[in-house]
């Protein structure tokens, strides 16, 4: 069953609603015992990096998640700040991240200094798919998703970035390393494209 990790951040219910609509079994997991039946994990997030790490570390699920993701190899999808905490660390805070994908989180800056970039990157933007992946099967040519962030994922290994968007600079907005996925946008709030992506995620079989 798909388990939405409920650590006090992000819209757990919105994910459950999408899966309900798709008739795919999903439930929230707020403690270790609720992770038992997990086949897929979603790490949602709206908030700041340190707050997300504090809450996850204090959730009592941290060790079991390390085990399920790194040892068992369950597919996991980090969303927004839930994607950012997959990295080693962030300019936004001082806490170490999960370190599951090699990379760092940095503030968005404009490549061209003459352009005034309004931050945060807020709203609907197009995503360019850089490499084929089962997560992205059947998506439109340049699908639009909803973004809301000031910081972005900088991948240490270029191949982990499988989708980008442009806002002042190219931003890696879909990252993947083995069974670990992250998306900077909010698929749970991105209408039909988000629904397709979440459906694809539920079809992944990494373990």
């Amino acid at each position: 069953m798909i388990k939405i990790i409920d650590y006090g951040l992000g819209n757990v219910q919105a994910f459950l609603n999408v899966y309900k609509l798709l008739n795919i079994p999903a439930s929230s997991a707020g403690k270790i015992s609720e992770l038992q039946e997990a086949s897929h994990l979603i790490l949602p997030g709206v908030g700041s990096f340190d707050q997300a790490m504090h809450l996850l570390n204090d959730s009592g699920m941290r060790e079991e998640l390390d085990n399920l993701v790194l040892e068992v190899g369950l597919p996991i999808l980090g969303v927004c700040v839930g994607m950012q905490i997959l990295a080693i660390g962030s300019q936004e805070g001082i806490m170490p991240g999960l370190g599951w994908i090699n990379g760092d989180i940095k503030k968005i800056t404009s490549e061209k200094s003459e352009i005034d970039l309004h931050l945060p990157h807020m709203g609907w933007n197009e995503v360019s798919i850089k490499s084929k992946d089962e997560l992205l099967t059947g998506l439109e040519e340049k699908p639009q998703f909803y973004f809301l962030h000031n910081y972005h994922f900088v991948c240490a290994d270029e191949h982990t970035s499988i989708g980008t968007t442009n806002y002042g600079m190219d931003i890696s907005c879909i990252v993947k390393s083995k069974n670990i996925y992250g998306v900077q946008f909010h698929p749970e709030k991105s209408h039909h494209n988000g629904v397709s992506l979440l459906k694809n995620f539920s079809d992944l079989n990494c373990a």
Binding site: V18, E92, H118, L119, P120, G123, Y146, F147, L148, E188
Partner: protein, 254 residues
């Protein structure tokens, strides 16, 4: 490319939706959850939900209703009304709301922006300023549904809000609210020029053309509308509506 945002604004009063004119005479529109379902179907860019009773009546935010709406909402949601401290802010974000709209709380205590931004991230902090035009292009800032005038200079306030770490400023024109006579474009342009964070404009949209003009003048901006998306025709019959994908593409053509 990032698109401008076209945002229906829903006003909550006594658990139901209303629409005002110049912040007065609320007309009942219907049930909020039902409206959200219709905007889901129409794939709206974002929703802003403002509880117009909370601050004035010193109510706590109605967490139960916010949770119900956030759960139903398949587009990003901004909630405002009665947010006075970090604990409330964290709680609302925890219910599945993407952005918080704060207004009177910030004018009472500017540090609150900083505190909330540190807790939930500045991308989720929107500051709403209700403004009324005076003579000679000056503007006054109000809170409590336009009943309490604040002795602050609008433009100073905006730069302070930005420095304190807000992610978005929402300018709501009391004069144009519900009038459907178009946005206050002069003000929108002036503020767009001086802000580096995101900006949304509310008050006065009466047609898609009004939105088109706003986008043309200001670029990537949030165009908020209330009456336009809940009323139809000259008798203001309640009919929830939203531009189709084709209509929207046309609006973005500059």
């Amino acid at each position: 490319m990032l698109k401008p945002r076209i945002i229906p604004c829903l006003l909550l009063k006594d658990g139901g939706l209303v629409k005002t004119v110049n912040f007065k005479s609320p007309t009942y529109i219907g049930d909020p959850v039902n409206a959200v379902k219709i905007f889901n179907e129409k794939e709206a860019d974002e929703l802003i939900l403002l509880d117009i009773d909370a601050t004035t009546n010193h109510f706590e935010p109605n967490y139960k209703l916010i949770s119900k709406i956030a759960t139903e909402c398949r587009m990003p949601l901004c909630y405002g009304g009665g947010i006075k401290n970090v604990e409330q802010a964290k709680k609302i974000i925890g219910l599945g709301v993407e952005k918080l709209a704060i207004s009177s709380g910030v004018l009472d205590n500017g540090k609150m922006i900083n505190d909330i931004a540190s807790a939930v991230g500045s991308q989720s902090v929107s500051v709403v300023l209700d403004v009324k035009k005076k003579l000679f292009d000056e503007y006054e800032v109000y809170t409590h549904n336009g009943s309490k005038r604040r002795k602050k200079n609008l433009f100073d306030l905006i730069s302070r809000i930005e420095d304190m770490g807000a992610g978005e400023i929402v300018i709501n024109s009391i004069d144009n609210d519900g009038s459907m006579k178009g946005y206050d474009l002069d003000l929108a342009k002036k503020i767009r020029q001086i802000t580096n964070i995101q900006l949304s404009i509310s008050g006065g949209a009466g047609s898609l053309d009004d939105i088109k003009v706003l986008i043309k003048e200001c670029g990537i901006i949030g165009a908020i509308a209330g009456s336009l998306f809940v009323f139809k025709g000259r008798f203001r019959a309640v009919l929830i509506n939203y531009p189709s994908l084709t209509d929207k593409k046309n609006l973005f053509k500059i």
